[in-house]
């Protein structure tokens, strides 16, 4: 009971901090917009779709996946931040378990990503993707599943890193390959087989595939069946939550 209250208050803190950072909110709104509008329409002209979807529609779920990944990776830095500014001590000395602290942090970061993801979802109408209520109802839990895993990647890395700079560097190394090799921007079936292998071990591949199935609602021929996407995403989440809580409890 008191653990739940602890998790709740840590979660709440994360969101308050996030929402108070106005410039970050604004910039995170524009970045996906640029991808969709500039990259999407620019490259869209030179790519001929075989699926009947235009290119912007095709990458739209991918951009949502990207937003979830980038935001949660970026927010993972808050753990290092808390350590550097001393606040982590206040939490560590409280009568609450390390697991609860990690879970509070994870839920907080995931919620931040969800807020971000929802904003991008609303941008769909700009490029003509119809977001109906049934889609929203299905896509929210799906986005949450995707982002729990990515939030844990960020937080787990942050457990092992002491400086903001080194985290920033590692973040780029994780973000870029995961994003580019997830099928977010182009179909991955035609990649050389060694790269395809990377695509298959990339958890975001299944996230993006599932997001496409749900958001494009029938217009998209999926790479994997939805149940398979979901199974892999959930397995990855469970694995990352365990890895994250373990890494967090390792630190003094």
């Amino acid at each position: 009971m008191s653990e739940l209250r602890g998790i709740y208050t840590l979660w709440q803190r994360e969101i308050k901090r996030y929402l108070r950072e106005r410039t970050r909110l604004a910039s995170s709104f524009f970045q996906p917009l640029l991808w969709l509008v500039i990259f999407g329409s620019g490259l869209g002209l030179s790519i001929r779709s075989s699926t009947g979807l235009n290119y912007q529609e095709y990458i739209f779920p991918g951009i949502i996946g990207q937003t979830l990944l980038f935001t949660s990776m970026f927010m993972g830095i808050s753990l290092i931040w808390d350590r550097q500014f001393g606040f982590l001590k206040e939490i560590l000395v409280a009568p609450i378990s390390r697991i609860s602290i990690f879970v509070g942090k994870m839920l907080g970061v995931s919620t931040d990503s969800m807020i971000q993801g929802m904003i991008v979802l609303m941008l769909g109408f700009l490029i003509g993707v119809k977001i109906t209520l049934p889609i929203v109802i299905k896509v929210i839990p799906l986005m949450l599943l995707v982002t729990l895993g990515t939030a844990c990647i960020g937080l787990t890395l942050a457990c092992f890193m002491d400086s903001l700079e080194s985290y920033g560097t590692i973040m780029t190394f994780v973000n870029m390959p995961m994003f580019f090799l997830s099928g977010a921007l182009f179909p991955v079936n035609n990649l050389p087989s060694w790269l395809q292998w990377v695509v298959y071990v990339n958890p975001l591949t299944y996230g993006v595939d599932a997001l496409r199935i749900v958001i494009l609602d029938g217009a998209y021929v999926s790479s994997f069946p939805l149940y398979m996407d979901l199974t892999i995403i959930i397995a990855f989440d469970v694995f990352m939550i365990l890895a994250g809580t373990y890494s967090f409890s390792l630190r003094k």
Binding site: Y8, R17, E90
Partner: protein, 328 residues
């Protein structure tokens, strides 16, 4: 029951022994001072007592609970103001306190009144809804003190609560602490670099040096034990002067503190002439000379060979370090 009892409490970082078999008993009630130069291991002792560091060996009881076996019971019993800031400056003062109340499971019915009470104690009631990033450093420190009290701890650790504050804010903080002792049933463990304050406030003090307790008693008995009086001399060749006084064998202890020589003697009035003579014989020019009853500073100097000033004392070097070993 003692508020705190340590049993051979030891902490090593690699091969470095930072806390070395510390045994202290702290009675309930009042303030217990932990004094020691920079790097003595005070904060490390506190970190272990509040269970964020595991002892390498030994253990301790805090409010009757073993810090190794029952850390969460210990955590519920204690409050702490860390040496380094630990408030969230993107939240308001009140939000920081609310979060603390939630983390410590303060009953919802008491949460509000408890928060108002501690804010009032540290005179921040009217600033509770401001973001902490807009607070001055003194206000932040006061907020941390308030926060450490939200869950009415039995034992309160204050690690340099007044560091870096101006004299006025410092006085404020000491007066809250006195107020607290009057109204609450609480034991306070304090580290500070302000000796006069420690002298006035502490029921007992332990002097820590290189991870060991080198003295533990009431400030009065420590001063009494040191005995005699202190002659403070400023000369143009302190190391030589110390050596010569030592050779003469007329002083109980001789140490360099900053740019002065402190000589502890039984009776300053009879020995003062010899002290001056020694300077004259050795052509050491004396710039100033004064007499005092021993202060806690002198006790500290006696046991650690280092003066304790704001920001910490300096190591004696060369001659001084050698003298120190002989004196001990």
């Amino acid at each position: 029951m003692n508020a705190i009892e340590t049993m051979d409490l030891t902490k090593k970082f690699g091969s470095l022994t930072v806390v070395d078999s510390v045994n202290i008993k702290v009675e309930q009630g009042g303030i217990f001072g932990l004094l020691g130069p920079n790097g003595a291991g005070k904060s490390t002792i506190i970190s272990m007592l509040c269970t964020i560091l595991k002892p390498t060996s030994g253990t301790a009881l805090v409010n009757g609970y073993d810090i190794v076996k029952f850390p969460s019971q210990v955590r519920k019993s204690i409050g702490i103001v860390f040496q380094d800031p630990s408030v969230d400056d993107r939240l308001t003062g009140k939000e920081n306190l609310e979060m603390h109340a939630d983390l410590y499971g303060v009953p919802a019915s008491e949460k509000r009144s408890q928060i108002d009470k501690v804010l009032e104690l540290v005179e921040l009631s009217d600033r509770g809804n401001d973001l902490v990033r807009n607070y001055s450093s003194g206000m932040r420190r006061r907020l941390e003190i308030a926060r450490s009290l939200v869950h009415t701890p039995k034992v309160l650790f204050l690690d340099e609560p007044t560091i870096g504050l101006d004299p006025q804010s410092r006085d404020h903080i000491w007066s809250y602490i006195r107020e607290l002792l009057k109204t609450e049933d609480i034991t306070i463990i304090l580290t500070t670099h302000y000796m006069e304050e420690a002298d006035k406030l502490c029921k007992q003090v332990a002097i820590v040096d290189r991870g060991q307790i080198v003295a533990l008693d009431t400030p009065e008995s420590l001063k009494e034990k040191l005995g005699g009086e202190t002659i403070t001399v400023k000369s143009q060749n302190n190391p030589l002067y110390v050596e010569k006084i030592k050779e003469a064998g007329i002083a109980k202890s001789v140490v360099i503190a900053g740019d002065e020589v402190k000589v502890t003697v039984d009776s300053a009035h009879t020995i003062l002439p010899s002290i001056v003579n020694i300077a004259a014989l050795n052509h050491i020019f004396i710039e100033s000379i004064s007499l005092q009853e021993p202060q806690l500073d002198d006790v500290f100097l006696h046991y650690t060979g280092r003066a304790l000033r704001e920001g910490g004392g300096k190591e004696l070097s060369g001659m001084g370090a050698i003298m120190r070993r002989q004196i001990r």
